[in-house]
Symmetry: C2
C-alpha cells in the first residue's frame, strides 16, 4: 500500500471516532456526504481519504459502517494493545493517566514517572503510583512499553526523548512546548499552540 500522508491519517482517526459512534447507534450504512456533513470535511476530501485503501463505497449506497471502521482500525494500528508510560506527574500527566477514553482505544498506561520527591509514591489511579525517574531505564527494559507521553517542562523534554529512544521506545506524544530532536515518530500536543491559533481566527473573524 502507498504511504498515506499525515493529515489523511489524522482525519482517518476522526472518521474512526465517528464510525464508532454510528455503530453504537446501530447505523449500518453511511455515505461520504453524510460523513462530510457530520465532520465538516469536504465531501471530495472524504472520498479521497477513503480511496487510499480501495473503494468500499458504492454510489447511492455508501459505506458499510462496521466494515469501514474495521479497515481504518487496522490501518491505524489499533488491532493490538499499546503500552504507554507517562513522564511527568503534573496536571497534564495526571489527566492523561486518568483519561478513560484512551484505554477504550486500546492504550494502556502502565507507569507514571516524575523527579519530584513529593510526587513519587503518590497514587494517581488505583493501579498507578508515581515512580521515580531513576527507575525508568530498568522499567522500560523489563516491560518494553512502546509509547511515552512527555508531560515535562520544555527544558527536560529533549534529553528525555533521546534517552527514551535509546531505551527502545517506539513513539512519543509530546505535550512539552518544544520540537524534539529524536528520530522516532512524535505527535505534538502543545496546548498553547491551539489557543494561539484560535485567537488569530477570532481576531480575523474567520472560521
Amino acid at each position: 500500500m502507498q504511504e498515506i500522508p499525515k493529515p489523511t491519517i489524522r482525519r482517518l482517526a476522526v472518521y474512526y471516532r465517528c464510525l464508532e459512534r454510528l455503530e453504537q447507534k446501530n447505523v449500518e450504512k453511511v455515505s461520504s456526504k453524510e460523513l462530510s456533513k457530520m465532520l465538516k470535511i469536504k465531501d471530495s476530501q472524504v472520498r479521497k481519504d477513503l480511496s487510499y485503501f480501495g473503494t468500499f463505497g458504492r454510489r447511492g449506497v455508501g459505506y458499510n459502517v462496521k466494515e469501514l471502521k474495521e479497515k481504518i482500525k487496522e490501518i491505524l494500528g489499533l488491532n493490538k494493545q499499546w503500552s504507554v508510560i507517562i513522564l511527568g506527574a503534573g496536571n497534564i500527566g495526571k489527566a492523561i493517566a486518568r483519561y478513560k477514553q484512551i484505554e477504550k482505544d486500546n492504550f494502556k498506561v502502565v507507569a507514571v514517572f516524575d523527579v519530584d520527591k513529593r510526587k513519587i509514591g503518590t497514587q494517581i489511579t488505583p493501579e498507578l503510583t508515581v515512580r521515580s525517574l531513576d527507575e525508568l531505564d530498568e522499567f522500560v527494559k523489563k516491560n518494553k512499553p512502546e509509547i511515552a507521553v512527555l508531560a515535562v517542562p520544555a527544558d527536560a523534554a529533549n534529553p528525555l526523548a533521546e534517552r527514551l529512544e535509546k531505551l527502545g521506545i517506539k513513539g512519543i506524544i509530546c505535550f512539552a512546548p518544544v520540537t524534539l530532536t529524536c528520530s522516532i515518530p512524535v505527535e505534538y500536543v502543545d496546548i498553547t499552540v491551539f489557543f494561539k491559533t484560535l485567537v488569530h481566527f477570532i481576531s480575523r473573524g474567520i472560521q
Copy 2:
C-alpha cells in the same frame, strides 16, 4: 493583508514559541535555516510562511528575533489579554485551569463550570472555584469572556457549543471527541486522535 491558511497560522504559533526562547537566551538574529533546523520544518516552508507578512529576513543576516516575534504576536492576536471559561471540571478541565503556560501567553481563565454537584464549590486554584453550569448564562453576559474550553463528554459538547455561541462566546477549544456544529471558530484537541495517528506511524515505521 491576505488571508493566511490555518496550517501556516499553526506554524506561526510554533515559530513564536521558538522566538520567545531565543529572546530569553539573548539571541538577536536567526536565519530561516536555523529556524528550519530547530523546528524540523523545511527551510523553504519557513521562508514561505514568513513571507506572508513581508520580508524582514535579509540574505546572510536573517531575521531580527525580537522584531519577528512582535510581528507574529500581532498577527496571532496575542497583544491583548483573552478571557477564558472552562466547561467541565474533570481531569482535562482542571489541568487546563492549572496550566501556567497559558496565562503567560495572555490567556486568563476566569471561571470553571460543571454539572456535578460533588464538584461544584470545590477549589481548583486559589482563584478558581467550580461553579454550577446554571450560572453560565448570567456569568457570560456579565463578564463577557471570549473563549470557552469544552472539556465535557462527547454528548454534552454540541448543545453547550450552541448555547455558548448564542451567549456571544467568540471561539472554542474543544477537547471533547466530536465535531461541533456551531459557526464560531473551533480548535479541536482530541487527545485520542494524536495517539491513533502516532501508532499508525509506529506500525508503519514512518516518522
